[in-house]
Symmetry: C2
Subunit: 340 residues, 2 copies
């Protein structure tokens, strides 16, 4: 198993990316190829005493796609950009899976152009695992495709079910359509048109509409929505969790000397909660629907997140997620209510 | 100031509604008319010793709209439903504002049919105050209009700005468009078409795109989005806040005897946080854009929430929100990019 890591993508690249890769090759049985500017990566490997690790190599790429660039145009123009080169290594069979913490738009574009789509999939989806009260809920699409049609949501449901089952180990995962009420008659035009299509599917366990509150409650394993809504949900969740932790800290700070002393004693519990809410623990989110492995990381990923993303990449490859998607999409045939 | 309260709407109606009304007339200088089945309401007033309060009266309405009914059809058919009658009392000038914790769909339909729209407003919006790190963010639309066009979002922005300024007392409120990135070029078709329209407005302080994480952070005072997205945001926020509180409790419970003792000392801080996140403290959310006052309450409202909603209703009326909306909508003229 060989992972191509975009060493130049992310707020803390290349330093934290390199550190995460070093930790991963020491901890997991896998090979990592760091793709990017070798004049920047090699000195880091030396600094961390990792230049001699046999399962960690560098593949030079001279360009970088910046956050402000138009994703599609940048991917087409910068043929030697780290994320483009990493994707090419997978396409050509030299690596099994890509990891990037750079611009999400550029990652999606590089994957679409470089790997192509699985037959029957029109738009890829980002499947993000979110912690809930009892485990993990997969949210998709969390930002690859912002104007989804009902058939795209159907494709997301099929793909999300496979990811939850094979990678997260959830047997017969419960799939819900994100909506504003539980009844089949509730929702906007998109949700109303999607519901009957999901009901027809034979390869998933569709439990009907779910609401925003069902995500943290953990009453559903895979939540399907369009990429605009999914991205809002993801960022609201992150922001709210961190705001509540801050409010709690302030409340304790303002509650007098004895309470402050007491709070020192509950600190371990507090840290456990923080860990549960920390995206870095969950590693990356796979881009499902492209014809190859591609894991997208949070832009502010540090070493731990990169290391965990490499673990996710390994599971994604070992469990043959792309093959299972191909099979189930073929089984379901064309599911649409748009006459095409 | 006279408030018409739908005594039959909500999970805990009529008991908690009646209790909330009793508390409100004792605490605020206002009159309340309880609209609903007098054979159910009058015994409650007697039980709570409130039958002789001069500023609390009962107005009989024989029907109730149930949660499962189709809102539009039910409002048209049940002319003596409590929410329909309460709205009529405002339309005919007997009351100043309606409050209902019943079906949101039925409330919106009753308000639209009964009060009509303010000239220049095509769709009303529910404006929900949400607690953030430093105060309150108004989210609209949070569920009145689930397939919004760009011009509807523009109307929401104008109305939300007035509500934030006059009722919440925020000077020159910062208005943001909920999107998946800060740049003007980011977003789905709806957001991309809305941004330039918001930029043209002269009566609001448009600060550009905001993301999900900006809501709890408090870097924006009014967040504009369509009713589908807004409803998902609202319910996710509620669910996540309560899930985090539960996780924290469990973490403390599992952290041993000393930590458990310590946690008793931080309990006041903990309660303060809970109060900050409790929607009941904020009372109801106004339905903006209809030609009269209409406050929508959470379906699970208890007495405290109803009492606070009556306070909101009073401020809404005292501050002449409907008049200000009428003036600013007229000032802005027709803002659209749809050629109509």
């Amino acid at each position: 198993m060989r992972v191509a890591v975009d060493a130049m993508g992310g707020d803390f690249a290349p330093n934290e990316i390199v550190l995460g890769a070093i930790e991963a090759v020491k901890e997991f049985s896998c090979e990592v190829v760091l793709v990017g500017d070798e004049t920047k990566i090699k000195p880091l490997l030396e600094r961390y005493g990792a230049q001699a690790l046999s399962n960690l190599t560098v593949y030079h790429a001279s360009q970088v796609i910046e956050m402000h660039e138009h994703p599609g145009a940048a991917v087409r123009k910068k043929k030697d950009a780290s994320v483009v080169v990493a994707t090419r290594l997978v396409k050509e069979g030299n690596c099994d899976v890509v990891i990037s913490a750079g611009s999400t738009g550029a990652a999606v574009a590089a994957a679409m152009f470089g790997l192509g789509r699985i037959k029957g999939i029109e738009r890829p989806s980002i499947a993000t695992p979110i912690p809930n009260l009892s485990g993990t809920t997969v949210l998709l699409d969390s930002g690859a495709n912002v104007d989804s049609k009902p058939k795209h949501l159907v494709q997301s449901a099929i793909m999300g079910s496979i990811y939850a089952e094979y990678v997260l180990g959830i047997k017969n995962p419960r799939i819900g359509l994100l909506n504003i009420g539980e009844e089949e008659t509730k929702g906007n035009e998109q949700a109303l048109a999607t519901y009957p299509l999901l009901k027809q599917l034979t390869t998933i366990n569709f439990i009907g509409n779910v609401e925003g509150r069902d995500i943290p409650k953990g009453t559903v394993d895979v939540v399907v929505c369009d990429g605009f809504v999914g991205n809002v949900v993801l960022k609201l969740g992150e922001g709210l969790a961190s705001a509540i932790m801050q409010l709690l800290k302030e409340a304790i700070q303002n509650s007098g000397f004895i309470a402050k002393m007491a709070s020192l004693m509950v600190l371990p519990a507090f840290r456990g909660l923080k860990k549960k809410l920390d995206y870095a623990e969950y590693g990356g989110a796979p881009l499902l629907g492209v014809d190859g492995g591609f894991i997208i990381c949070h832009g502010s990923s540090k070493a731990k997140a990169i290391k965990n993303a490499i673990r996710v990449a390994k599971e994604f490859t070992d469990k043959r997620v792309v093959d299972h998607i191909r099979e189930n999409i073929a089984k379901e045939g064309v599911i649409t209510n748009e006459g095409d």
